[in-house]
């Protein structure tokens, strides 16, 4: 198990937003974490990487507890977070963003070629300022920048946010490609249909609690998921 979370509780000030969550991610899986606004998805991710101190419970990376470790440590533990809204360095070029992503990686120059092969569009814009890229391209840059750190676990926070439907499709197909290359991904999303189509397993987080979990294919047919996240008749719409 790459990531194991047990009974995690965390929050802000005196407000608890994650109420005892347990989940795990195995090597080579894409695991979806679905939930609406305010469900606690981002807080959970922050607690996993150490940006938020857990109040209670345990986070284990590669079998080792992370308690008390600063956030930067998680990168050397090969865990990389791609934050919500991309957060690329707008005033730096695409190349600089990518090289910065591989700050800890002594083979970053070699890995740059691999990343550019994976995202050829970034290769065409290497010298361009990141802030001038389209939303979808910025998302790919954020993914590429994360890959430069050679992560064993990639945490993606709402990669579809603010993207046009066609671009969402493209980004998700890139994420699927990453899995095929052996990457392990925890994908936090509101877009349940897109997530469940590429994930192996998924969890549903509601008001700080996991209420459903299982193989992604099963969740696609779960009446509660259909009603709350996919919308009635979603299949017909897709077809």
């Amino acid at each position: 198990m790459i990531l194991q979370v047990k009974n995690l509780r965390c929050g802000y000030g005196s407000l608890e937003v994650v109420h005892g969550v347990s989940l795990h991610v195995r090597q080579g899986e894409i695991v979806g974490l679905l939930g609406g606004n305010g469900a606690g998805k981002t807080s959970l991710l922050k607690a996993v990487v150490g940006l938020l101190s857990p109040w209670h419970g345990e986070v284990m990376l590669n079998g080792r507890p992370t308690k008390g470790q600063p956030a930067w440590r998680s990168v050397s533990n090969s865990v990389v977070l791609v934050p919500e809204s991309r957060k690329v360095f707008a005033d730096m070029t695409v190349r600089e963003n990518l090289i910065l992503g591989g700050y800890h990686n002594p083979d970053r120059k070699m890995d740059l070629d691999v990343v550019l092969e994976l995202f050829p569009r970034l290769g065409e814009r290497l010298g361009q300022l990141a802030g001038t890229l389209s939303g979808g391209e910025q998302q790919m840059l954020a993914l590429g920048r994360a890959l430069m750190a050679r992560p064993r676990l990639l945490l993606l926070d709402e990669p579809s946010m603010g993207l046009a439907p066609l671009m969402v499709k493209e980004v998700f197909s890139e994420i699927k490609k990453l899995r095929d290359l052996g990457a392990t991904v925890l994908l936090v999303e509101q877009n349940a249909a897109a997530t469940l189509r590429i994930a192996d397993r998924a969890y549903v987080l509601e008001t700080g609690e996991i209420t459903l979990e299982g193989p992604a294919g099963d969740l696609l047919h779960n009446p509660e998921v259909k009603r709350a996240y996919l919308g009635k008749g979603h299949k017909e719409v897709e077809e």
Binding site: S22, H24, T211, L212, H221, E224
Partner: protein, 389 residues
């Protein structure tokens, strides 16, 4: 013999316990939200480890009966695509429902059993369970379909028709009850049919049999014999897998088992329509903590019989209270009686008292005949009623 779902059936203990904890926490959140009966009982309880489950209340068969018909359903009825009745305490009726996912899981879990018994896509499987009160036929058919075997879900109307079916359709696996298997064996002997002239390779029995009876069926039909151990209210078949070593392994990725005072307690971890928390099965069992050579890591379970007054006449389950109910409708006052089971027959011996005595033999005979008819009509069992002094 193969393992159908290797990841789940041979999962390392630590991984399994993490999965059980996650599923249990999700289950509790759903129960609190969707089932009033549970919301009232577990609202303030928190579960942080599997050991914490002991703090949660039991669900008894009586609770399920009190919630008849849909009180324990976790989904509105429009999401339940299959319903069936089973027998509850004192012969009451319980309703079990399934969502679409429940049926898919049921098939996968039954397929685990079939794969363990050696079934392959080349097999032709006949499911013949004598209908009636046993509702597992659907689960077996779904399981065989998952294996991609050919399924014959057909109940021949008599044993000769069953023999014809074996000759003509050439099933290689027969899913049936021990009673049917014995009847088939006797019919083969009666008609001087050589068991080897059929294509049967495996007989899959609907309930556990061991020792002499198991050997008798195996030798009489000259087949491999595998058994099912399921629980009507939980899942039957699909609760456990009998491995080649003859041990029943609980499908622990789906069901969490505890043993309390010798009674098997089961929590369903992934059932959608009717999840049950700490269900008291009224079944005695042992769970020896030992490794099995088959490689499965699910807890080994040894069923030891029932802890309530339910018993079987042939394959029909009965509660003592049901006998008393039938007698009460014929006798004006309480009469001492006792009952025994002789093969497929219920023998009820009623003490002759002045209240029912008559010097007219035909009246007594008529009285006896009406009771026998009632046992058959109301309970589905052939009964012999005797008056004793």
């Amino acid at each position: 013999m193969s393992i159908f779902d290797r990841n789940s059936e041979t999962m390392p203990r630590a991984t399994l316990e993490q999965l059980q904890l996650e599923r249990l926490q999700a289950l509790l959140a759903r129960l609190k939200r969707n089932v009033r009966r549970y919301r009232e009982r577990i609202a303030d309880l928190r579960l942080e480890s599997l050991a914490d489950l002991a703090k949660f209340p039991f669900t008894t068969p009586e609770d399920v009966a009190d919630s008849f018909p849909y009180g324990l359903f976790s989904f509105p009825l429009r999401e339940i695509i299959r319903l069936h009745s089973i027998m509850g305490p004192k012969g009451s009726t319980l309703v079990v429902g399934h969502t679409r996912n429940d049926l898919v899981h049921w098939g996968r879990l039954a397929a685990r059993q079939f794969a363990a018994s050696g079934m392959t896509p080349n097999d032709v499987v006949q499911v013949a369970l004598s209908g009636g009160l046993y509702r597992g036929a659907l689960g077996y058919a779904l399981g065989a379909e998952q294996i991609e075997a050919s399924v014959i879900e057909e109940e021949p109307h008599c044993i000769e028709a069953q023999l014809n079916l074996l000759e003509n359709y050439r099933p290689t696996v027969l899913v049936t009850t021990p009673t049917n298997a014995l009847a088939l064996m006797n019919a083969m002997a009666h008609h001087r049919k050589d068991p080897q002239s059929f294509h049967l390779r495996t007989v899959f029995l609907s309930r556990p049999v061991a020792g002499e009876l198991w050997n008798e069926i195996r030798a009489g039909l000259q087949v491999n014999v595998s058994c099912n151990f399921g629980i009507d209210e939980i899942l039957d078949p699909g609760f456990s897998v009998q491995c080649e070593a003859g041990r029943f392994h609980v499908n622990e990725d789906q069901f969490l088992v505890e043993v309390e005072d010798g009674e098997l307690i089961v929590t369903t971890l992934a059932r959608e329509a009717m999840p049950l928390l700490r269900y008291r099965t009224r079944l005695a069992c042992e769970t020896p903590r030992e490794k099995c050579s088959c490689g499965r890591t699910g807890t080994v379970i040894m069923p030891k019989g029932r802890l309530d007054n339910r018993f079987r006449v042939g394959e029909t389950p009965l509660y003592e209270e049901q006998i008393a109910q039938v007698l009460r409708s014929h006798l004006k006052e309480e009469h001492p009686y006792n009952h025994t089971v002789a093969g497929d027959k219920l023998v009820v011996s009623i003490q002759m008292t002045p209240a029912i005595f008559s010097d007219m033999i035909w009246q007594l005979e008529d009285f006896r005949r009406r009771m026998v008819t009632d046992f058959l009509d109301r309970l589905g069992v052939v009964a012999e009623v005797r008056f004793v002094y």
